[in-house]
Symmetry: C2
Subunit: 187 residues, 2 copies
DNA sequence: GATTATGTGGAAGGCGCGTTTCACTTGTCA
DNA sequence: TGACAAGTGAAACGCGCCTTCCACATAATC
């Protein structure tokens, strides 16, 4: 078999081991992130790791989307429960912290085909755009900028901030303050 | 021989051809940017292209730093001739335009060893920090943010802006306006 | 024009990495 | 417990890529 969920208990456990190993490596800068590395970390053979997922791409897709899913859910919750202007600031801080923790290996899976991850990124972009629109209605963000443009800027700036070497909370705050100040409507 | 300037006229001409081909490919998204590709573009054999520079890394180092050098010089000129606050805005627009034109292949030479390019990037960072410090003295940038921090934010944001798919001048202006507004001192 | 140092490039080498093979092991189920 | 399907992993394979070889070409020099 290639991809479907394994039928045997040990195979299912190995699937978890492989996924956990890949996930762990995503947060470790400097590690090669090869099938061999993941397999060794999981205590499995390289063939097993790849086979249970149907390929390296699918394995990393599962690992990355597994990390991203809670972030997207958090955005959904904030959007539903909090005032948009406030939600945006809150969420951005969390998003940056998340990206700072996981951007290190992002250039290693940048060129891979990861449908689940792509879908989540789309969801996230849509949710953030809703936050921006809400913030504009609330008067927390100036309205002379297109929501899609603002969202793109925010997302990219967040990533830029996250790439700062030691992203201390103070530094993140300083960056975010500049960004949000630039977005605020003229008093 | 490996790296030193060739003694024969045809070899010197081929060196130019290889450098020009590499430089041209740096602005072409989607092209593999392999030694083979560069060689075919230059009308030379792969061995020749690599040998005259001493390796692929050295060739791309020469190409990238050749593109970057004028940008650094421009920063130096602006810093010497223009009011810092104005220089910052002017230079950022040009920097973003440059990065937008050349970022496409940057993930293909991101992991390479390129000393000349690294040195120029250091120079650029230092010059930008001087601009920020000057802008702070002029009252164009708020002083409650560390110059190094502001410079890092500006540099990374500029790169983030440049990565926008079709970086139209209007989009760049909108982005820059947000960034500079966020940096302006409170009125 | 002859001689020689210099340069060329197709082919072969070597390396890293993802994937596949296949003899072997191990859960599972009657 | 016995038999079989399911799963494993070391080794082999394939592929892309940079680099090196070496027989051949050619600019420079006398």
């Amino acid at each position: 078999m290639s991809s479907g969920t394994p039928r045997r208990a040990d195979a299912l456990r190995n699937r978890r081991l492989a996924l956990d190993a890949a996930t762990a490596l995503l947060a470790e800068p400097g590690t090669p992130l090869t099938v061999e590395t993941i397999a060794r970390r999981a205590g499995l053979g390289a063939a097993t790791v790849v086979r249970t997922f149907g390929g390296k791409d699918a394995l990393l897709d599962a690992a990355v989307s597994g990390l991203l899913a809670p972030v997207v859910q958090r955005a959904r919750d904030l959007l539903a429960e909090t005032a948009p202007g406030e939600a945006l600031g809150l969420f951005l801080r969390e998003l940056i912290a998340f990206q700072a923790a996981h951007h290190s290996a992002s250039d290693q899976w940048g060129g891979l085909d990861m449908p689940a991850t792509s879908a989540l990124r789309g969801d996230l972009a849509r949710l953030m755009e809703e936050m921006v629109e809400g913030a504009q209605r609330d008067g927390a963000v100036r309205t002379d900028i297109d929501p899609a443009v603002a969202t793109s800027l925010i997302g990219r700036t967040a990533l830029a901030i996250a790439r700062t070497q030691p992203p201390s909370p103070q530094l993140i705050d300083a960056y975010l303050a500049v960004l949000l100040r630039g977005l605020r409507p003229p008093t």
